[in-house]
Amino acid sequence: MKPAKFDYERATDVAHAIGLLKGSGGFTKILAGGQSLGPMMNLRLAQPDLLVDIGRIEALKRIEKTHDSLFIGALVRHAMIEDGKAPDTTRGYLRSIAGNIAYRAVRNRGTVGGSVVHADPSGDWPTAMLAAGASARITSANGARSVGLDAFFTGAYSTVVGEDEVLEGLSVPAFSDHARWGYYKICRKPGEFADSIGAVVIDPARSYARVVLGATDGAPILLPALASRVAAGQAVSIADAGAAIDAVHSGFDPFDRQIHATALSRAITKALAA
């Protein structure tokens, strides 16, 4: 169980990385923390010709607080957020999520940007960041662009980031002092891939409410109808959540529908009780 052969280049800065991506003839992958790519390559499910290691690009490791947001560089590791090394602008939301991703040894190397751009449906950050209203900063040879996460994921393992683009980081709006959130993950055991994730952020001061269902068969799903109910302070039973799921996705089998509905209902209950 060893990877197929590949070439390896270490990028010194973002421009260099983009140059390497553009210049390669074959299949190229960016290596950030490698905690998802590594297993896929060991299993030879991914066989890139070239790995562009962006792990030493200091600019991608920055954490920056502005008056209304927090910028998290793509290379910020989960453990840094777990350990409170980023300012808490989300009333503990990001920190709580970071601390329950996979295992500590994975969190010590895996990156926020890598997780979001990998877009594994069962990953935490795609769902959690979408619920928080984050936007992605993507850089290419033509400059940088910002994309809200509601327009970022195009399916399972699929995003709008182009082959010669680099995700620089995520901008997460600051939660107000009255913001409330709930996050409920169902998995066979801690650290495993999630079977369902419900994520809820309510921030009346910003007239903001989002309810997201993750760990489905595709991109995380926004549930605006539930968000309106939650914004109005209404509880959502499992049956209610199931009905809301039916309105946006008809393909779940009864088991998946049940656990998705439960994850959503429990996340909402947590948010309302917060």
Binding site: F6, D7, Y8, R10, L31, G38, R104, A105, V106, G191
Partner: protein
């Protein structure tokens, strides 16, 4: 082949590696530090856990070439570490190992739990151990060993 220089167990090493060589295979096959074990090679079982720049990480899904200039500590590199000495004693006294295959990775994680979470209770210890699989002990001795080191440090 790429040249890589890193510090392993306190000594600087410079070697040529294939980019696809994992850090685990590098320390095992090229440096002959075979205490780091491979149990799944996809980042789940934890047998290959080593310290990279002081933090526990999976050496099976980390390429040696990407560890250039890093400080790597394998199970063979803790001889002067008082906390690891305590942990080894506690593992011995609590029958926290049987076949011993998971033990090196388990010890690296266990030491990190005590270092990072001095107030951890049994539930937290178990949660923190979720990334290290043991097939022999039922985790009873392992959890007891870690709790005993935590208690000892608190009392000191």
């Amino acid at each position: 082949m790429k040249q890589v220089t890193m510090t392993v167990n306190g000594r600087s090493v410079t070697q040529l590696v294939e980019p696809r060589t994992s850090l685990a295979d590098f320390v095992r096959e090229q440096l002959r530090f075979t205490g780091t074990h491979l149990g799944c090679e996809h980042g789940v079982c934890g047998a290959c856990t080593v310290l990279i720049d002081g933090e526990p990480q999976r050496s099976c899904i980390t390429y040696a070439v990407s560890c250039d200039s890093a400080q790597v500590t394998t199970i063979e590199g803790f001889d002067d570490d008082a906390l690891m000495a305590d942990m080894r004693t506690a593992f011995h006294e609590n029958h926290a190992l049987q076949c011993g295959y998971c033990t090196p990775g388990m010890l690296v994680t266990a030491r990190d739990i005590v270092r990072r979470l001095p107030d951890a209770d049994e539930k937290r210890v178990r949660l923190e151990l979720s990334g290290n699989l043991c097939r022999c002990t039922g985790y009873v001795g392992i959890v007891r060993a870690i709790l005993s080191v935590l208690a000892k440090r608190k009392a000191a």
